[in-house]
């Protein structure tokens, strides 16, 4: 009897894909609590804004966002992804901020033959040999901004640096990327606990090391606290602090305030980047949420746009995974960073810019585009990717 | 008579105070040897040292011909040196039978057996019931020990000590807190036990002491000041002066 019912159910299920889906579900797994909550929330808001501009639809289909908070914890992320895939049965997964969560959940998503659109974490593990046909990134390979920063610091002629990053995969990627383009003396590499908030011990060591520049890869609340404490300790008087774009983004500026002025940082996007889509994005985002979008928000926005374009490309027949993949690979949408193409590993080939925190027209601190550091930059791992 | 227990120069200090101050003492096989002394004389400390609950700062404890000074309490129990407690120490939440069974099981080889229940070993239950009968608690086997009357709890306490077939039984104030009638029954019990095992009796009840003891030793300020047969002790001027005067007079 039960076997009969199972067979019947299987038959019904196998019939379904003949029709185009009527509604798509997007599993949005991200970090939305704790010191780095702002990151996940920015990605979500960017994603939601794009959906809203499309009338609540993606690729012409009604879309539902199923949100899960991974609390920056790989374990929690793994449990949530099981639920998203097996209970909610989402069609796409996106939103993941942190690389440790990404590495923990990615295999399960790939096993379920579900597309994973990264709106931030793009670790080396998924960019080279371990690249996957189910993975696309609308952000940047984890090394990118740091490679740009390494090049900038080298070009400026700072001959010694201290590097600080959390002790997790993206932290190691970051410092590897930095060193790929920086050939001066690295006096010290400090790895701190992920989520650490008190940097007194590290700052004392930095003071003793006397470098010309300090480069930090400290996302979210970690960066906020580090910069505050760095200035409170008076280190800004004797050395230069440089970070990737998100360490000096609008949320950090708001939290830290005045001491941020003048800080250089590197990213693949800036809110004053001159293209039509970006102008619309920034204006609408400010109107909707009353704040200037961050790099994270732009990545979330582009993730939604990419899904929108791909679903549209297959005319809503998202069960045809091969066609859908082709549509993803085309990246046929106006990105807020300007045009870009996917490399073989599904990671963007794009420019990286130098930005600086300065006083805006309204007298408030904000980022300003300074120059282009790397043009149509390809990541170092793509060559090792043999996409199946 | 052969010597069963021998203490040599036993010292135990707490801070600056020597609670046991160079005790040399022996107990012979088969006797009931009472240890008396005023409160704070160090009786309990001495019992702890003999039973292995604490270890001495100096001196030796010999039992049945071997040095057990460094042996743990359970190792001494295995050799036959068993104590009961002044403050009743039984398994209050368990039935009297379970109390007895736990004690009997201890004397029946290793309990590192993880598969069969002890009920499967009929011998344990049988011996436990016999043990309860021996102290007169066979009617109360299924009662939780904590709800037994005080005198019954004291008997159970003795039963637990008996279960492991001791050669020397250290009874620490078995009559503590008992009424005259209960005391009388406990005295009878001890008299019966005395025919099988050597007993060291630490007791305040002088009536009981003089009824039961073959020999009596007097502990004052951590030292044995006198040791001998009841009549000698009764007559010993030093003992009278130091401690017994009034109580002894009344007992006599």
């Amino acid at each position: 009897m039960s076997r009969f019912i199972v067979a019947l159910a299987a038959l019904l299920l196998s019939v379904c894909p003949l029709h185009a889906a009527e509604k798509i579900k997007v599993g949005f797994l991200s970090t939305m609590s704790g010191p780095s909550a702002a990151l996940g929330i920015d990605i979500r808001d960017g994603f939601a804004l794009a959906m809203q501009q499309n009338g609540g639809k993606l690729g012409g289909l009604a879309a539902e966002l199923v949100v899960g908070d991974d609390q920056q914890n790989a374990d929690t992320g793994k449990q949530l992804i099981e639920r998203l895939l097996k209970k909610d049965r989402v069609d796409f997964v996106t939103g993941i901020v942190f690389t440790n969560v990404m590495l923990a959940v990615a295999p399960a998503v790939f096993d379920a033959q579900t597309f994973l659109i990264s709106a931030n974490a793009t670790p080396s593990q998924l960019s080279g040999e371990g690249c996957s046909p189910w993975f696309f990134s609308t952000s940047w390979q984890n090394d990118g901004a740091h490679e740009a920063a390494g090049k900038y610091i080298a070009d400026k002629g700072y001959s010694s640096v201290v590097l600080i990053a959390p002790n997790y995969p993206a932290g190691k990627d970051a410092l590897t990327g930095f060193k790929r383009f920086y050939k001066g003396t690295v006096i010290d590499e400090m790895y701190t606990k992920l989520g650490q908030l008190d940097y007194a011990a590290e700052l004392a060591q930095v003071r003793a090391a006397k470098p010309q520049a300090v480069y930090i890869f400290l996302p979210g609340g970690m960066g906020v606290n580090f910069i505050k404490q760095y200035n409170a300790a008076g280190l800004n008087r004797s050395m230069v602090l440089v970070g990737p774009g998100f360490s000096a983004d609008e949320d950090v500026i708001k939290a830290v305030g005045e001491p941020m002025a003048g800080m250089f940082n590197t990213a693949q996007w800036a809110h004053d980047l001159d293209n039509a889509q970006n102008k619309r994005f920034v204006a609408d985002f400010r109107k909707q949420y009353g704040r200037t979008p961050t790099v994270y928000a732009s990545q979330g926005y582009d993730a939604a746009q990419l899904i929108d374009a791909a679903v549209r490309g297959v005319k809503g027949k998202i069960e045809d995974k091969a066609a859908l993949r082709k549509a993803f690979e085309a990246a046929d949408f106006p990105s807020v960073r300007g045009d870009f193409a996917f490399n073989v590993n599904h990671v963007p080939i794009q420019n990286y810019y130098l930005r600086q925190v300065v006083k805006g027209a309204d007298g408030k601190l904000t980022n300003k585009l300074v120059s282009t550091i790397l043009t149509a930059h390809k990541d170092a791992y793509a060559a090792a990717c043999k996409m199946k | 008579m052969a010597e069963l227990l021998r203490l040599r120069g036993l010292v135990k200090r707490f801070g600056g105070l020597a609670a046991t101050d160079g005790v040399d003492w022996s107990v012979a096989q088969g006797e009931v040897h009472a240890l008396i002394g005023p409160n704070g004389a160090g009786k309990t400390t001495l019992v702890h040292l003999i039973s292995g609950a604490s270890s001495p700062d100096a001196g030796e404890v010999h039992f049945a011909g071997s040095d057990v000074t460094r042996a743990s309490m359970h190792a001494r129990v295995r050799r036959g040196l068993v104590r009961s407690y002044q403050v009743t120490s039984i398994f209050r939440r368990l039935s009297a039978l379970d109390n007895a069974m736990l004690a009997v099981q201890a004397g029946r080889g290793s309990s590192l057996r993880f598969w069969s229940p002890p009920q499967a070993d009929a011998g344990i239950a049988r011996d436990a019931r016999a043990l309860l009968a021996r102290v007169g608690l066979d009617e109360r086997a299924d009662v939780a020990a904590g709800t037994l009357a005080h005198g019954e709890q004291r008997k159970l306490e003795v039963a637990l000590a008996l279960a492991v077939r001791p050669t020397l039984l250290l009874l620490d104030e078995p009559m503590a807190g008992m009424g005259p009638e209960e005391s009388q029954r406990m005295i009878e019990l001890i008299q019966r036990l005395a025919q099988e095992v050597t007993i060291v009796l630490v007791e305040h009840d002088m009536d009981a002491v003089f009824k039961l003891a073959h020999r009596i030793s007097v502990l004052v300020s951590g030292r044995i000041i006198a040791s001998g047969e009841p009549e000698e002790i009764r007559r010993d001027a030093q003992v009278r002066r130091a401690y017994l005067g009034e109580e002894l007079g009344r007992a006599a």
Binding site: A37, L197, A200, Q205, A208, N225, K228, A232, L235 | -
Partner: protein, 306 residues
């Protein structure tokens, strides 16, 4: 070796240790007097920090924020004591662990509902946001100096309170011998409630002072709670003096360990390996210390009893 580095790390350790002391002081009294394991103690620290953020947001005054946090948290602490914890004193440690673990979960969610999941960033008063030059070439954050000053003042105050006043004597009596305190006929219930209130206020002080340095967030009490337990076990449960000594030991060992361990490791290992191993080994250090103390001096360094 760099003298300034050692000095700076010493001050950092002192600052960290003094804040730990504020938490440990309340915990050790509750533990010692009421024989109560309170896993929700860290939640009072969190509540204090949130209250401070709330008052700071609406008044803009840091001093008011600290006072508000102290008063509010003390009140909340006493309410919890009267409403719930009082029923648990006579229960076994297991029930206490479960009940206070439940309180911890409830407090976390309550804060999340009231203030959202995002952490709040507090800023120290403007005048204290920069450094002070203590020695030529040695700049130290002014705000951390304030924390050290406050910590020392509170430690002194607590010492006077416990050592010199009648209430303090009762508290000490309670910590070393509960029955005696009961026999002395003091209103034990009121005393317990008051002690709990003071403990809560000390937590709030730590929360309010550390808020601008760290972040005000849900779950901030958990990691520091475990450290506070380590402190009181090292110092001896029930002893204020022990809590202070334990807190300073943990603070200094942890902070100096984070510097000196990588340094000494670097002498024998490649820099990347050394700086990776260092912080983690340093965090193990205090637990090794605690296990060692428990093993050799089970009652702690300054036992309150016996």
């Amino acid at each position: 070796m760099d003298l300034i580095l050692i000095l700076e790390q010493g001050l950092n350790g002192l600052q960290f240790g003094l804040m730990l002391f504020l938490l440990a002081a309340g915990l050790t009294l509750v533990f010692g007097i009421m024989d109560m394991i309170n896993l929700a103690h860290g939640s009072l620290y969190m509540i204090g920090a949130y209250l401070a953020a709330l008052v700071l947001g609406s008044t803009g005054s840091f001093l008011l924020a600290v006072c508000g946090a102290l008063a509010g948290t003390a009140a909340i602490g006493m309410l919890i004591e009267i409403g719930i914890l009082r029923r648990l004193y006579a229960r076994d440690h297991l029930s206490q662990v479960l009940a206070t673990f439940a309180l911890l979960l409830i407090a976390n969610e309550a804060m999340r509902i009231l203030f959202g999941s995002q952490s709040l960033a507090l800023n120290p008063p403007e005048v204290l946001s920069g450094p002070v030059e203590l020695l030529p070439g040695f700049l130290y954050p002014a705000y951390r100096l304030l924390i050290i000053a406050v910590g020392l003042a509170v430690a002194l105050l607590l010492y006077l309170l416990v050592a010199k006043t009648r209430v303090g004597m009762l508290v000490r009596a309670g910590a070393s011998n509960r029955e005696m305190a009961l026999a002395m006929g003091v209103n034990v219930k009121a005393l317990f409630t008051a002690v709990f209130g003071v403990g809560a206020a000390l937590c709030a002080l730590a929360g309010a002072m550390l808020g601008p340095l760290l972040a005000v967030e849900v779950g901030m009490g958990e990691s520091i709670l475990i450290l506070a337990f380590v402190v009181i076990v090292i110092g001896g449960i029930g002893s204020i003096r022990g809590a202070l000594a334990g807190a300073l030991i943990v603070g200094v060992v942890d902070t100096l360990g984070r510097t000196l361990l990588p340094m000494s490791l670097r002498a024998v290992l490649p820099p990347a390996v050394a700086s990776n191993l260092g912080p983690s080994l340093a965090s193990i250090l205090i637990y090794v210390l605690m296990a060692g103390v428990l093993f050799w001096r089970p009652q702690g360094l300054f036992p309150a009893r016996g």
